[in-house]
Amino acid sequence: MMTSLVAMYQKGAITADHLAVECLHIIDPKAPALVLDPLPREVIMRMIEFTRQYIPGGMVTNYGILPALDQVQAAKKWIEENRMHEIHGLEPERNDWDNDQSGLPVPDPVGPGQSPRPSSPSPRPAGSKASRLG
């Protein structure tokens, strides 16, 4: 399945966004690497963008099954731990649904030798918009 999906993307039959969402839907949250590891960098970029926009119960698609929250969480965590170095200019970003184990807010890093964390630019294709209506 994964091989077929990636092949379809590589020959131009589905977009990177399409592949990213299809892959999220088939992820086993306990073993996301099986799906995520073979994905091209550009698809990983689209996927991390999707995970940052993801709103549980608030996503709309023109067709297909939406990925579940645990699949999106697992993908976001795995990408940030394993593929973030490929994506220049991006740093891990917290979603509302992210939970750290202590339940306490995580402060920005401060102290000698560290700069304030820059705001994270989102990779967005030229011409695309992400404004919310109403």
Binding site: M1, S4, L5, M8, Q10, K11, G12, A13, I14, T15, A16, D17, H18, V21, E22, E42, F50, Q53, Y54, I55, G58, M59, V60, T61, N62, Y63, G64, L66, P125, A126, G127, S128, K129, A130, S131, R132, L133, G134
Partner: protein, 158 residues
């Protein structure tokens, strides 16, 4: 004009079930009057993703509710084209080829100015192109497809 959710015309198979390639299908559709722009690409659905009620599909778009869909959401980042997948059995009928490609191109060309200007919400995008919304682009596209097939048969003048 409002029609149904599906085409009214039945499509006759080619003699001896001859199967067209994608390139042949595009040429056949163009010969019978379907306008296919250069920034569109067709592919056979080789993985069986399209079910019995789905003849073809354009790009999947998924966004948070209320977000805007723009043209670049439909375009493949490497090819610069909008991809459409065609169910394999469509390629065994020239009438089906003309109907399905006419349908998809009608929807796309209605959407193009909307998506290339300010964009439309993901809800509007789905509403205009998905079955279940009488009178939307999806309906109009099947109406046009029926006309194109009748023209192929010489049953309707241009």
């Amino acid at each position: 004009m409002i029609s149904g959710q599906f085409p009214k015309q039945e499509w006759w198979p080619n003699p001896d079930r001859q199967t067209r390639t994608i390139e042949e299908a595009v040429a056949i559709a163009r010969r019978f009057g379907v306008q296919i722009p250069d920034d569109v690409a067709f592919f056979v659905d080789e993985v069986g993703d399209l079910d019995a009620n789905t003849t073809a599909r354009g790009p999947r778009v998924t966004k948070p509710a209320g977000m805007i869909v723009v043209w670049s959401d439909l375009v493949h980042d490497k090819t610069g084209k909008v991809p459409f997948r065609i169910r394999p059995d469509i390629l065994t009928s020239d009438e089906a080829i003309v109907a399905v490609l006419a349908h998809e191109m009608y929807e796309l060309e209605q959407l193009r100015p909307l998506l290339q200007q300010d964009g439309i919400s993901i809800e509007q995008f789905g509403g205009l192109t998905c079955p279940g919304n009488p009178g939307n682009y999806h309906d109009e596209a099947w109406e046009l497809a029926d006309v194109m097939v009748k023209r192929m048969r010489g049953e309707e003048n241009r």
